[in-house]
Symmetry: C2
Subunit: 260 residues, 2 copies
C-alpha cells in the first residue's frame, strides 16, 4: 500500500519524503515546496474527492506534515462529504487546534486510512537525551526546571507547548499564538538577558498530527529574545535540519539539549 | 500612633491618604505625586535612617502604596543597617518580586512596625461580587472560566496574576513583565477579537505589600487588545478611580465584573 504526505509549509514534507516514496497531497491555498513525488491536488472543501483520489492512488498511510493554516472555505466548492462533516469540524474548531486535529484524524481513520506521525517515519529527527550543542550550566538547569514546572502545571488544561524562564523567573508562556510570537514578546518586554526556552508537547497532544519542532530559525529567534539555552523533550520534538540548527547554536552561543 | 505611606507611583498614595492623616515616605528616585501631608524623605540605601525618622515621627503603621521600581543602589550612600540587610535582600531578589516584598515586610516588622495593606485602609476600593459595568454574557463567562483555570493551575508556582481567553482559547498569560505587557502582546498577536481578561492575586501573594489593581488605563489597554470583558477577584483587586473606570468601560463597550 502506498503512502501520502499531506504537505503543509516548511521543510518537513521534504524530510519525510526521504523516508521512502510517497504521494504528496497539495491543498489549495497552502504554500508547499516542490518535491520529486507524484502530486495529489486537493481542496479543504472537497474531502470526498480527496478520499477517492487517495483510494485510486492506492494510499493507506497518511502523514500530516508542516503547518496547515485554517483557510476560509468556499461553500460553492464544497462536496457532499465535506458538507456532512462540517458540524463535527466546526464543533471541534471551537475547542482549539488540538481538538480539531484529533477530529481530522478520526475522520480519515473512519475512511480506513492509517495516520502516521512524522516521528514514525523519521525517528532520527528527534534528539536522544543529552547535550546537542554545548551543555546547560547550573543556572540554565534551574531556569529549565522552572519553565518545565509551568508546562507541567498547564498540561492538563491543554495549554502551553513552550515556556521561558530567566534567573528563576518565568518571562514567557506560550499561548494559542505559538512559540515565535512568545519569543517576540519575551525579546520586546523582558528585563536583562539570558534564560532558557523549554519546548515539549502537551500531554494531550496527538504527536501524529502535530509534532513540536525547532530549527535554525527557532535558535535565531531565541537569540534575538536574549536567551542562552533551549531544552527540547527527547524523542518528541523534531529538530528540522540538525546541521543548520547546530551551526546556528554555535553562531549564537546558544546551548541546546534534550531532556527525558 | 501615626501612620506612614511608602509612596510609589500612581494615584494609590493619594487614595490612601483619604483614609486618614499619614506621613508620606518619598524614596529618592521614585516618582510620586505631591500630597498634602508631611514628607519623610528616604533612600533605599539608608534603611537605618528611615527606621529612625519613622520612629521620630511616631509612626507605627506602614502602608506600601503603588509601584516601587528596583533601583540601582549606590554603595557610597549605604548605611550600616542597610549593608547588614543586603544578604537577605539579594537572596530574596533572586526568588522573585513576591519573595522580595515578603522579605521587606519581615524587615520592617522586625523593627516593630505594623504593615497594613491598601485594602485595610480602603476596603471600598475593591468590588463586591457582581456586575460593575454591564454583565458578562455566556461566552464571556466561558472565557473567564478558562482564564481562571489557567491562573488556578499556575498559582502554586507563584506565577500569573492575570490571563486572557477568547472563544475558549488562552491567548495571554501574565509573566514577570506584568499585565500591561501581556495586553500589548495579546493586541499585537491575537487572531480575531473579543475575550476576557481575568485579574486576581496569586494565592501566595502578600496583599498587604502588593495588591493587584485596575483602573481606566487597564480598561483602555484591554480594549486596545480587542477584549470585551474584564473580571476581577471580588475583595482582592483595587479599582483605582471607580468613576473613571466605569466611564472608560462605557466608552469602550467593555463589561467589568467581580467574581468571588
Amino acid at each position: 500500500m502506498a503512502r501520502a504526505i499531506i504537505a503543509g509549509g516548511g521543510v518537513l514534507p521534504g524530510l519525510l519524503l526521504q523516508a521512502g516514496p510517497a504521494h504528496v497531497v497539495r491543498l489549495e491555498g497552502v504554500e508547499s515546496a516542490p518535491l520529486d513525488a507524484p502530486d495529489i491536488p486537493a481542496r479543504f472543501e472537497q474531502l470526498g474527492k480527496l478520499f477517492a483520489d487517495l483510494g485510486t492512488a492506492g494510499v493507506r498511510d497518511l502523514v500530516f506534515a508542516g503547518a496547515l493554516s485554517r483557510p476560509a472555505l468556499d461553500p460553492g466548492q464544497m462536496d457532499a462529504e465535506t458538507a456532512a462533516l462540517m458540524p463535527r469540524l466546526v464543533s471541534a474548531m471551537g475547542q482549539g487546534d488540538d481538538a480539531l486535529l484529533r477530529e481530522i484524524a478520526a475522520i480519515f481513520e473512519a475512511q480506513d486510512f492509517r495516520i502516521l506521525g512524522a516521528l514514525d517515519l523519521r525517528p532520527d529527527l528527534a534528539a536522544e537525551p543529552g547535550p546537542i550543542c554545548g551543555a546547560p550550566g547550573a543556572a540554565q538547569g534551574t531556569d529549565a526546571a522552572r519553565a518545565r514546572a509551568v508546562l507541567d502545571a498547564l498540561g492538563p488544561l491543554d495549554v502551553g507547548q513552550a515556556a521561558v524562564a530567566a534567573r528563576g523567573q518565568v518571562i514567557g508562556i506560550e499561548t494559542l499564538q505559538g512559540t515565535d510570537a512568545m519569543l517576540r514578546f519575551v525579546g520586546a518586554s523582558r528585563p536583562g538577558s539570558g534564560g532558557v526556552l523549554v519546548k515539549r508537547p502537551k500531554p494531550s497532544q496527538d504527536l501524529r498530527m502535530d509534532t513540536p519542532a525547532i530549527g535554525p530559525d527557532t535558535v535565531m529567534k531565541a537569540a534575538e529574545a536574549g536567551l542562552s539555552g533551549i531544552e527540547v523533550a527527547a524523542g518528541a520534538v523534531l529538530i528540522l535540519d540538525r546541521a543548520a540548527t547546530e551551526a546556528a547554536c554555535d553562531a549564537a552561543g546558544m546551548a541546546l539539549w534534550a531532556a527525558p
